[in-house]
Amino acid sequence: MAWVRGIVVVLGLVAVWQAVIGLTGVPEFILPPPLDVARALAADASLLAEHSAVTLAEILIGLACGAALGAATALAMAAWRPARDWILPVIVASQAIPVFALAPILVLWLGFDLWPKIAMATLIIYFPVASSFFDGLRRTEPGYLDLARTMGAARGTMLRRIRVPAALPALASGLRVGVAVAPIGAVVGEWVGASAGLGHLMLHAKARVETPRMFAALILLAVIGVALYLAADWLLRRAVAWHTESNPAED
């Protein structure tokens, strides 16, 4: 059923797209018709695939780094009080700086290759992962902790055996958000300065008014984003299968 819904939504969006062109008569270098974009997708397939692979690599490496750093930060803050008192305010304050504003600086520091994009993706993923996981670690059911104390658990064991597993659903929520925003980091990095990647390809195509190619790159970005999210959601659901979910719409 979910597949059918997905196809219906995509077809519906394409129909709206075509209808907008038909109704407004907008020139095709502003909004190309779906068929032109499909042709661009087919004609430039190998070029698009090459650049997609670059962007996907940036996103995946950024995801791994951001998730690892975020989870490690949350664990450090949970395990060690001074870490929480010193790191938490810095993390929260750091969110006042727009990641986009950092992009030019990162390019300046790290060059035009993969690294500034990976750094952008890492930065954008880090916060949701760290804050969700830390929240989860703080909200352990007090009864579990009482029980563990009466059983003679040491603090470290309690963290590892009770708090961490209990916080995994919260970590999973953070990772879902991270996966959803990761492409933003990579693409913004590519816009600021890159020699490859879908973001770079879009800028290049824009300069030459190859609007269908821009849209083709955009569609691939959306496909990458959705595919990543679905894959992550599938994996995370399996990882915390014990966590029972309820649907608010069925209350």
Binding site: D146, L147, T150, G152, M158, L168, V240
Partner: protein, 260 residues
């Protein structure tokens, strides 16, 4: 140390616990002060009283989960510490949802970083069989009924094999039939351990108690009551039990009025 499957709580010598001059604040007001309580070695002590009177706090105090006022003392008759010698069972089953029934029973051993060998696993399996869950070893808590979950919690409490068992309304979230079954099972399997059982259910107390205290007032005091004759678990249909139940209800209601 190899533990035979048959060994439950009584395998360790029971000791009595004396709480003396205990005082505790709750929300700025003294919940109780200068409170004395003795848990006799190897006997089942029920603590009855209305909600909010401080039963749970007293139990948590003995469990070492909250700090009493300075001057309060809790002593074991054998001179040993309380810590490390208690098993705790709460109203919520507190089963970890990511662990199977078997792993939940083994939780204490895991948390103490003991080596879990075949004999220990065998004992956990045996205990789960004793509470009627031999078929549910691998089941996650979410797939068990409330009664089954509390059975796992009982098996976990028994697995700890501690001489002092602290139970905070362990059966009160269950339906009447399941509660009745689990009371009998608990009385049988915990026979010989020193038990403190907090409850608000007079029937339960009359059924299970060797010693019976009613906690009432603010700050709370303990009233020592005569328990019905016969060994627990007593038949609720036994002569005189209904009359005692009515008496207890009157007493508890008086305690409630006093608190109000």
């Amino acid at each position: 140390m190899r533990v035979s499957p048959g060994a439950t709580a009584p395998s360790i010598a029971a000791f009595s616990v004396t709480v003396h001059a205990a005082g505790l604040d709750f929300g700025g007001a003294p919940l109780f002060e200068a409170l004395d309580l003795k848990l006799e070695a190897g006997s089942w002590t029920c603590l009855l009283g209305p909600s909010g009177v401080g039963k749970t706090s007293l139990l948590r105090l003995i469990a070492g989960l909250i700090e009493p006022w300075p001057g309060s003392t809790i002593a074991c008759s054998d001179g040993g510490p309380i810590a490390g010698r208690i098993a705790y069972m709460a109203q919520q089953d507190l089963l970890l949802p990511w662990l199977s029934a078997l792993d939940n029973v083994l939780l204490g051993a895991r948390l103490r970083r003991e080596t879990i060998d075949g004999a220990i696993r065998e004992r956990a399996r045996w205990l789960l069989a004793r509470v009627g869950l031999a078929e549910k070893l691998a089941a996650l808590p979410a797939s068990l009924s409330g009664g089954q979950r509390q059975r796992v919690a009982l098996a976990r409490t028994l697995f700890e094999a501690r001489p002092l068992v602290l139970m905070d309304e362990p059966f009160s979230a269950l339906d009447a039939i399941t509660r009745h079954q689990l009371q009998a099972l608990g009385a049988e399997l915990l026979h010989g351990a020193t038990v403190l059982h907090v409850t608000h259910d007079p029937w339960e107390a009359l059924r299970l108690a060797d010693r019976l205290y009613v906690m009432s007032g603010a700050p709370a005091r303990l009233g020592d009551l005569v328990v019905p004759p016969g060994a627990p678990p007593r038949d609720v249909a036994a002569a005189g039990l209904a009359a005692r139940h009515a008496e207890l209800l009157t007493l508890l209601a008086a305690g409630l009025r006093e608190a109000a």
